[in-house]
């Protein structure tokens, strides 16, 4: 009974995390940028949607506008920041620090505008409950699972079934060759970050719909997602998603055997050991 319910809540958390991981994986596998500012876009998406809902927009409209805004912001960061750095032949470390700067800017704009208080979506149905056997979930949690699975399926279809998707994979596997064959990696990068930003906006709204908004709360999911991505194998969308779900479920179920304050420590301990024995990840990269 307890295990089942913990499994269910772990699945919900994991699915949301999975979308963060997929989106980060898209960026990382293609551009090789450690795009920490992604956490800022995740947070910003939620706050934008919150504002729109507050001013009376239906949730769906609010989500669509936020997704579009996030995509635009992501594209802006790539074209105005990362592309410039690339032209100056900056090292990975320099790009990482610039990305941290962008994250600080976004987080603190949010904190200045919305205050650091925890904000709740003024939506009444979001906490209505559904019982399936012994498991109780609210509407938001169910919605999170559905949307996340749809996002995963959509990304798979996109990557393998569309021309842009194939172009992205081509650039990811060999940017030099892609450059010569006029696939225009820099343009592709802008598309990739825009798509990833649109994707990450979804959990950025769904998670706060359930748990409330905080300006500095994007970093933890991003870090966990990064670890899922690496453990799953860079470039593997399925790997990133599955490992995210696995990590969240393990963290939840670990409560059955160890005290909660150690669950994060134990998760990372397992991860470090895992990396030593299987350094290229579970799912082979493509």
């Amino acid at each position: 009974m307890l295990a089942l319910q913990l499994l269910a809540t772990g699945l919900v958390t994991g699915c949301a995390l999975g979308v963060v991981a997929i989106s980060f994986s898209l960026v990382y596998a293609t551009t090789k940028i450690f795009h920490v500012a992604h956490a800022g876009i995740y947070t910003l998406g939620g706050y934008l949607a919150w504002s729109l809902v507050l001013y009376g927009a239906p949730l769906l409209i609010a989500v669509l506008i936020s997704v579009a805004a996030c995509a635009a912001l992501g594209a802006l960061i790539q074209s105005q920041l990362y592309a410039r750095l690339e032209r100056r032949r900056a090292t990975h470390l320099v790009v990482l620090i610039a990305s941290l700067g962008a994250l600080a800017v976004m987080q603190n704009i949010i904190a200045a505008v919305y205050t650091p208080d925890i904000l709740q979506f003024p939506i009444e149905w979001s906490s209505r409950m559904v019982s399936v056997g012994a498991i109780r979930l609210d509407y938001t949690q169910l919605l999170t699972i559905l949307v996340s699975l749809a996002a995963y399926a959509g990304t798979m279809l996109f990557a393998h079934g569309t021309i842009l998707g194939k172009r992205i994979r081509a650039v990811a596997s060999n940017p030099m060759l892609a450059d010569i064959t006029r696939l225009q990696p820099q343009t592709v990068y802008v598309y990739v970050i825009a798509i990833a930003s649109a994707l990450v906006c979804l959990p950025g709204i769904l998670v706060p719909l359930d748990l409330g908004l905080q300006p500095y709360n994007g970093v933890t999911p991003l870090l966990t997602a990064t670890i899922a991505m690496i453990a799953g194998g860079v470039g593997s969308i399925t790997g990133a998603f599955v490992l995210s779900v696995a990590i969240a479920v393990v963290q939840n179920l670990s409560l059955l055997v160890i005290p909660g304050e150690w669950s994060i420590g134990v998760t990372f301990f397992i991860f470090v050991i895992f990396m030593l024995f299987r350094p290229t990840g579970l799912f082979t990269a493509r």
Binding site: T9, N108, D117, I118, R136, Y216, N217, N252, L255, E261
Partner: protein, 367 residues
């Protein structure tokens, strides 16, 4: 190397600029609080409380003709930044009083406060180590142990014998847990399970589920952030045990939410009169919650002390402020409180949340 020289020159110019003294006609106090980063959630509320009280005093013409200013420094809840800020405020602004609200930073600043004779006023942290950290550290709210002892006794008398503890994995939460582990069994109960949550994380479901599995009569809570989310998740999971906590529970948004019905807690008798709370909400757009009230109250104590120091024609030094405060001893801010030691004794009640209101169940006394 041009960049180096420009950088160094700018650095030097800036450090000189910092050293410009403050305006002579205002009395400046300091506040060292986490204003950015995850702790900002609480630090900002604390800052609002102090600022609100000081603005009120200034609107009434200040203190004996002097205006009061508070310079707030952001320590991001880190001890090293706090030390820098402390030295900055005392060296450059010559502040005599510094408001602080986190136990780690406060413990780091306490030895400095003793050495430099600066009054540290803590109105937020309740870790037990604070009561003896420095003679110059004044705690305007009792350590969490005092509240938990009273709560445990009351729960024992109500026949709640089996408890589970939910605590935040930080200094405040762990102090609370240790006190529950000490006092609840002393009142004849047993602790069946305990579970940690991360500060600032608002997903309490795993912890709630695990604690519920131990089948307690009561869940003892020591968390400072995300209480509303905890209450809602408790309700969603259809849990039946009583939820008990300390003054932290008295958050207007939690009390107003139907999910908190039946929560019991100790309540330091601190409540903002409705018109004051309304003014606060008009000014800052948010409710005057626990920490804002506490720091408003602390600022009132400091202002009352300042009033006396100025009336006695003494210079406003940390030493004079400290001595005068302990000599006045009894204060009437938002609550009546008394300093028998460095830590205030405050009257306390047991309250229950019911129909969106916080209702008095029983009056208790704090030793």
């Amino acid at each position: 190397m041009r960049g180096v020289r420009i950088g160094m020159a700018a650095l030097a110019a800036g450090l000189v600029a910092i050293c410009t003294p403050a305006n002579a006609e205002t009395i400046t106090f300091g506040g060292i609080l986490p204003l950015t980063g995850p702790g900002a959630l609480i630090g900002t509320a604390e800052m609002r409380g102090v600022q609100f009280a000081v603005d009120q005093a200034n609107a009434k013409g200040g203190m004996h003709g002097d205006q009061i200013a508070v310079q707030f420094e952001d320590n991001q809840a880190k001890p090293d930044q706090s030390i820098l800020s402390f030295n900055k405020l005392t060296d450059l602004q010559h502040v005599s009083v510094i408001f602080t609200g986190y136990s780690g930073p406060t413990l780091a600043m306490a030895p400095l406060a003793t050495r430099k004779k600066v009054l540290l006023v803590n109105a937020g942290a309740q870790a037990d180590a604070l009561s003896k950290a420095s003679p110059y550290l004044i705690n305007t709210l009792p350590t969490i142990g005092g509240e938990i002892e009273v709560l445990s006794q009351w729960l024992g008398s109500e026949g709640k014998k089996k408890a589970a503890v939910m605590f935040e994995n930080d200094a405040a939460g762990m102090s609370g847990r240790d006190d529950y582990l000490k006092f609840f069994p002393e009142s004849g109960g047993t602790i069946l399970a305990q579970e940690a949550t991360q500060f600032g994380q608002t997903d309490f479901r795993p912890a709630l589920l695990k604690l519920a599995d131990a089948k307690p009569d009561v869940m003892l809570v020591a968390i400072t952030a995300g209480l509303l989310q905890m209450a809602q998740q408790y309700k969603q999971l259809a849990l039946k045990f009583t939820v008990a906590g300390t003054t932290f529970f008295a958050d207007p948004s939690v009390i107003a939410d139907p999910s908190s019905a039946g929560f019991v807690h100790t309540q330091l008798r601190i409540d903002a009169p409705p018109d004051l709370a309304a003014q606060f909400k008009a000014k800052y757009g948010t409710d005057m919650e626990f920490f804002a009230k506490q720091f408003y109250n602390a600022a009132q104590i400091v202002l009352a002390t300042l009033d006396k120091v100025l009336a006695d024609n003494k210079p406003v030094t940390g030493e004079n402020m400290h001595d005068t405060l302990l000599r006045i001893k009894k204060f009437q801010g938002l609550i009546p409180l008394e300093f028998k030691t460095n830590t205030a004794s405050v009257p306390m009640d047991i309250n229950i949340m019911r129909d969106g209101k916080d209702v008095l169940l029983k009056e208790m006394k704090l030793q």
